[in-house]
Symmetry: C2
Subunit: 180 residues, 2 copies
């Protein structure tokens, strides 16, 4: 940040009184501009024994496969964000079952929140951010062509737990993603 979003004057980087971190502070109106990590909400959409994946039409990781997910917007819940992203990227209607996995990615200031969910009907198509959308059985998952480590782990957890017959909530820190 170089300029104050409120008054347009220059900002300076300093540690405000009573704080212990460097912030962008307006030289003119004294406003402190905090920056915080962002939430990415998504779904593991299931139909019978298959999981719905989207092939990314946009960067980063264009051409690679992902579970539907995206940045949470203002005025929505994480669950609403996950449902909306699935509608936008896969044009699919889901009902969420539970918050299933949280991933912290501190090196890129992101927190993922993934919901187990069921497709309301086996209908879907490519949203504007997807090249293709398909249902995959476990043995068909394109493990070598997944877009993000968070998606690989979400799918691994899901299939592990399904085999075990019980789903348990997961919280995982990823400091250096293998796929990026």
């Amino acid at each position: 940040m170089k300029f104050c979003p409120q008054c347009g004057n220059k900002t300076v980087s300093l540690i405000p009184e009573g704080d212990n971190r460097v912030r962008d502070v307006c030289d003119s109106c004294d406003l402190i501009h905090y920056q915080n990590p962002r939430i990415i909400a998504g779904c593991i959409p299931v139909w019978e024994d298959k999981v719905l994946l989207c092939q990314r039409a946009i960067h980063p990781q264009k051409g690679f496969w992902t579970l539907p997910a995206g940045f949470m917007e203002l005025a929505e819940t994480t669950e609403q964000a996950a449902i909306r992203e699935t509608l936008e990227e896969a044009e699919a209607l889901v009902q969420t079952e539970e918050l299933y996995a949280v991933f912290n990615l501190p090196h890129i200031n992101q927190v993922y929140m993934m919901y187990r969910s069921v497709l309301l009907k086996p209908e879907f198509s490519s949203g504007i951010e997807s090249l293709d959308v398909r249902l995959f059985a476990e043995h068909e998952i394109p493990w070598g062509d997944l877009a993000f480590e968070t998606m690989r782990l979400s799918l691994e957890y899901y299939f592990q737990d399904r085999k075990a017959g019980t789903f348990k909530f997961r919280s995982t820190d990823i400091n250096k993603p293998l796929l990026q």
Copy 2:
């Protein structure tokens, strides 16, 4: 937002091409400035059968009691944020046990993430944002003087589950907080 944080020129509110929401867009450099909900991370710090609460020295809800919690910073995990906030507000060292409760507050664009945790030793004192810090047994909790609905629910869940002998992860949406 009125001015572009990157170039200092005026921003306009419009729906960018390919988007479906109004954003602040720079009239000069075309940068789109997204705004997203923020995460508040905190702890339920326990010593023997007691829970540590802080009396707030700052607004909002000055004078009311809260579990230690605060805005997650860049480059940290939710767990690290929860531990740091407990150190800052209660000058207490904790070890987290698990992510226990997530609260969505879409009307104020916040997501709370609360960790069950244990105090490493029964030592604590008031950080700069606290008037007082104390351990409370269940029957001593100041239910009528709690600062936030998220804290009332966190404590209710905790004592319910402790009585039942098993802790289960909770995810709750709060649309209209009773205490605010």
